[in-house]
């Protein structure tokens, strides 16, 4: 690998474009809605109720959002733990997306907390309740956000010319990288464990009990790989850079086998719990189960050959479908399959949706700002053009 040609560099270029302007407007709308929410309460902007106390701000912004932000975790696992050095150029951009995804997932929890001014109680001895799955998730996600900023800080230190600090940090980086692999393994599995205590309130198609952490962890890593493929494709198109098929093709092979293993675990779990029959009932739950299943199984067929994995179009399609599948697994588990009895309904309000859209817009905006100004993306090699 030509080291210097591949070293990350700021992309430069104009920040103000019609696209970034649109993102800015969407983020501003979300901010206005949130201001209204903090003055008037959750009920003023959301459709939440006692039958559905959690809506998309939890199910999407936090549970799906953090899983979409697993690119950095999946790549660190691959590069630093399994020593697959050839994927190194993908680490920094993936880590950056993870940094924003997680930071915003963490911050957006505050929007949903009714008594948000007490949020620090989770970390405070005397309040903290260690039997709670939510305690584990909150502490672990917060710790990971800090670890990621430390992992990513070389990019800032480079830009700011703080060579000494960077060198010192570099010597300790291996420890933060190890932590950065451990922590997501813990909380991504725990996001699944959150559902254990809901018991029979979760439809059998998603109430996997003690296997929930396994299912959520496997799909989090899977989503991490899919998001890396997705982002690499988009940023190569968006910033006019060559697509790194040389790394993406072997990466998708790893993703493929993990996907195969996941599908086996998911199906066996349904069979052994005797839940598979409910997938053939005429219910919304069964319908969404099949959409979710298709989103996992189609890529299994689509990316089965080495040749298919060389096609940028098929890679992108497969990655998008996997992201859809991982998202549906979570939305289905937390909302579609959540049944608290007759008479309760939930569908997000327009304002709730706009906040979620605004958060995503802000995330993309921040990503564009950082890669244009800081050394994140590997410099393009003219030879591969």
């Amino acid at each position: 690998m030509a080291d210097h040609a591949h070293a990350p560099r700021p992309l430069g270029g104009n920040l103000l474009t019609p696209f970034t302007l649109l993102l800015g407007v969407l983020a501003a709308i979300a901010a206005a809605i949130l201001l209204y929410r903090f003055i008037n309460g959750l009920g003023a902007v959301t459709n939440l109720n006692d039958g559905y106390p959690w809506g998309i701000w939890i199910a999407y912004d936090v549970v799906v959002g953090s899983a979409f932000a697993c690119g950095g975790y999946a790549m660190a696992l691959l590069v630093y733990i399994f020593n697959k050095g050839q994927y190194h150029p993908l680490v920094r951009p993936a880590l950056l997306a993870s940094l924003f995804g997680y930071t915003l997932a963490g911050v957006s929890v505050i929007f949903d907390l009714g008594r948000w001014w007490n949020f620090w109680h989770i970390f405070w001895p005397g309040y903290a309740q260690v039997n709670s799955v939510m305690f584990e998730v909150a502490v672990c996600v917060s710790a990971y956000i800090v670890v990621m900023w430390i992992e990513f800080s070389p990019a800032f230190l480079e830009k700011w010319g703080m060579k000494d600090v960077k060198q010192k940090l570099n010597k300790l980086l291996f420890f933060f990288i190890a932590l950065g692999v451990l922590l997501p393994s813990m909380h991504q599995s725990s996001l699944g464990s959150l559902l254990v205590i809901f018991g029979r309130q979760i439809h059998p198609l998603w109430q996997s009990g003690v296997l929930l952490p396994v299912i959520y962890l496997m799909t989090a890593i899977l989503l991490g790989f899919a998001v890396v493929v997705f982002e690499a494709t988009l940023s190569s198109a968006g910033f006019g850079r060559p697509l790194e098929t040389k790394v993406l093709t072997p990466l998708s092979k790893i993703m493929y086998w993990l996907l195969a293993a996941y599908v086996v675990v998911r199906v066996l779990d349904l069979v052994f719990r005797g839940a598979l029959g409910t997938a053939f009932a005429a219910t919304w739950q069964a319908f969404w189960f099949w959409v979710e299943t298709a989103a996992f199984v189609v890529p299994l067929a689509l990316l089965s050959t080495e040749q298919a994995r060389r096609s940028a179009a098929k890679l992108f399609t497969g990655a998008v479908l996997l992201m859809l599948g991982g998202m549906l697994l979570r939305i289905n588990g937390f909302l579609v399959g959540y049944m608290t009895g007759d008479g309760w309904h939930y569908f997000p309000s327009f304002a709730e949706l706009m906040v979620t859209v605004g958060i995503i817009a802000f995330e993309i905006l921040a990503y564009i700002y950082i890669v244009r100004n800081y050394p994140v993306l590997p410099a393009a090699q003219p030879a591969t053009r």
Binding site: G41, V79, G85, H121, A128, I197, V210, Y338
Partner: protein, 325 residues
């Protein structure tokens, strides 16, 4: 080279995970057991006449605002428990409504309020100890000053009991706390205190269980005395006639047991009570968490293995991208 390192890394990780898993059987936990001086309620649906004195008394004792479900907002008419209502009486109706406590062509009344579970999901779910179960009385209470408003308790409770005030910028959870704030004045649950027929009785779970056994031993139609207010308190009993009870006492086994126990002539599922397994969800959830994270043994072991592997694979170079696969 690559393959060997991959193998080693897998082995180290696997060993660490196995260490964590091996510590699991010692930490698996069963349902919690009933506290020594557990307090609770007995609700006998066959005695309830649907007067809703308990609903009004509960509102007054807990300083809760009225709630309206009719167009003319004359008086408190809650249809269910909510952020403003901790206790309601609901009606079961079928067909011609001829027979009280009859499933077919009959009607019955049922109380809905906190069950004060022996092993409550809300207490296990709460990340900040805002939901607590008293170690002596077993009363499940709520502390708004600790609460962060995450509503995990609302989502977790299989009875749908904790409710939330979504319309407030400073919201809180609402749930029955068995009028624990009145205990210091020698008073007890307002719902039981005012119940004219003794359908709702307050007392220790031990006394409640004795009373349940006594009622179930009666023949339908047999004359007997029904206590009112508080079991073990001053005698306020009155003569009545035993109804036909189901064998099933709701709350005896459900979910590891509850401190509100229910008797009825109509099946509990028809009365809106969920069919629950004998094992509490909290037991499974906590067993899982403690297996994975108990004493932080597994995480530390895995971190050690990861650090060892990362130390070898991360090269402290200034120039990135210096790795050769």
């Amino acid at each position: 080279m690559d393959r060997r390192k991959f193998f080693k890394a897998s082995l180290a990780g696997g060993a660490a995970l196995a260490t964590g898993a091996a510590s699991c059987p010692a930490q698996a936990r069963d349902n919690k057991s009933l506290p020594p001086e557990a307090l609770g309620l007995l609700f006998d649906s066959t005695l309830c006449v649907g007067c809703k004195a308990c609903v009004a008394a509960c509102k007054e004792a807990n300083g809760m605002p009225p709630e309206f479900s009719t167009q003319d907002q004359y008086w408190d008419t809650p249809l269910d428990i909510s952020g403003k209502t901790l206790n309601v009486i609901k009606a079961y109706k079928h067909g011609t409504l001829e027979k009280k406590d009859g499933e077919e062509n009959g009607f019955a009344f049922i109380k809905k309020s906190c069950m004060h579970c022996v092993d409550p999901s809300c207490v296990s779910a709460c990340p900040v100890q805002a939901m607590k179960k008293d170690p002596k009385t077993g009363i499940v209470s709520y502390d708004k000053d600790a609460c962060i408003g995450c509503r995990y308790c609302v989502a977790a409770c299989p009875f749908g009991v904790p409710r939330f005030t979504y319309d407030s910028p400073t919201p809180r959870i609402s749930k029955c706390q068995l009028c624990v704030h009145r205990h210091k004045d020698g008073k007890y649950a307002a719902c039981a205190e005012v119940c004219p027929t003794g359908a709702t009785l307050y007392g220790t779970v031990a006394d409640i269980n004795k009373e349940i056994a006594r009622r179930k031993a009666l023949k339908p139609g047999e004359k007997t005395q029904f206590p009112r207010g508080r079991l073990g308190g001053p005698d306020q009993s009155y003569p009545g006639v035993a109804a036909k009870y189901l064998d099933h006492t709701y709350g005896e086994k459900e979910f590891g047991g509850t401190q509100m126990l229910l008797l009825s002539g109509v099946s509990f599922q028809k009365l809106g009570y969920p069919d629950l397994p004998p094992r509490s969800d909290a037991a499974l959830s906590e067993t899982l968490q403690h297996t994975l994270y108990g004493g932080l043994i597994a995480p530390i072991a895995v971190l050690g293995a990861l650090t060892f592997v990362a130390k070898r694979n991360v090269k402290p170079e200034d120039e990135e991208g210096g790795h050769h696969g």
